[in-house]
Symmetry: C2
Subunit: 151 residues, 2 copies
């Protein structure tokens, strides 16, 4: 059997997630793409950075905006290994990201299809296109292995 290959940005987000695990952080990775080119990649790093806002998505958004020297990431895409939480979904709104691709769903902390459902909330100022499930098993396995090893 030939398994359909993952899109390159999701492969890179999974690599970033793996490096988070190596650093003792919950393995979540994110990548931002503009016009087909990866302009930022980051992993979850709240412990390392002493920063509760240092989720992979926030770190990637901050890096991409700094690189472009602008406040917004209009027309850019975010690839992330786990469903964004409320903080990250809010950051995606403020950044005006065009598309969000995420791998695994997160029934506990996710706020796209779960919980606060930020993009569907009344008055949400910007709704990106959202695609889920790309690299789902790879991302979920990495999280499962990480938490199993720590128990």
């Amino acid at each position: 059997m030939t398994r359909w290959p993952l899109p390159e940005p999701m492969r890179m987000a999974l690599e970033a997630a793996a490096s988070a695990a190596d650093a003792g952080e919950v393995p979540i990775g994110a990548v931002i793409v503009k016009d087909g080119v990866v302009i930022a990649a980051a992993h979850n790093s709240p412990r390392e950075d002493h920063d509760p806002t240092a989720h992979a998505e926030v770190m990637a958004i901050r890096a991409a905006a700094a690189k472009l020297g602008q406040e917004r990431l209009t027309g850019c895409d975010l690839w992330v290994t786990l469903e964004p939480c409320a903080m990250c979904a809010g950051a995606i709104v403020h950044a005006r990201l065009a598309r969000v691709y995420y791998a695994a769903s997160d029934p506990k902390g996710g706020a796209v299809e779960h919980g606060a459902k930020v993009f569907d909330a009344p008055g949400c100022l910007h709704r990106p296109e959202v695609y889920s499930g790309i690299g789902e098993s790879e991302a979920a396995d990495m999280l499962r292995d990480f938490f199993k090893a720590r128990r």
Copy 2:
């Protein structure tokens, strides 16, 4: 008539908001207090910093966590001049802030008593105590003047 004085942290948050306006940023300020001592103050700075996540609350949380050298702000209080958005409410959850005091409500972008109502969403991992309306007119007047001058 004697107007009841504002609590010191809210007075400082309003000062931070005023300095945001001076820098051409939407005037919102935030302060973090631990054991009665202000450990961080910040203002909204997404334009200046080229960072869509640079809301006053996020900047104050990052500064406070860096100062304490820890991932969480357990037992700390946040004072902010405007109702937090979904991103900032999510950051408050991750930081485990004990109490949130905000001045003006934000029916358009707020996510505490409006929109995504992050703290009330199913599965929310931490709910701070929330107090609103302290310094409401001062904060709202500052925002109104800012937007009026830009029109």
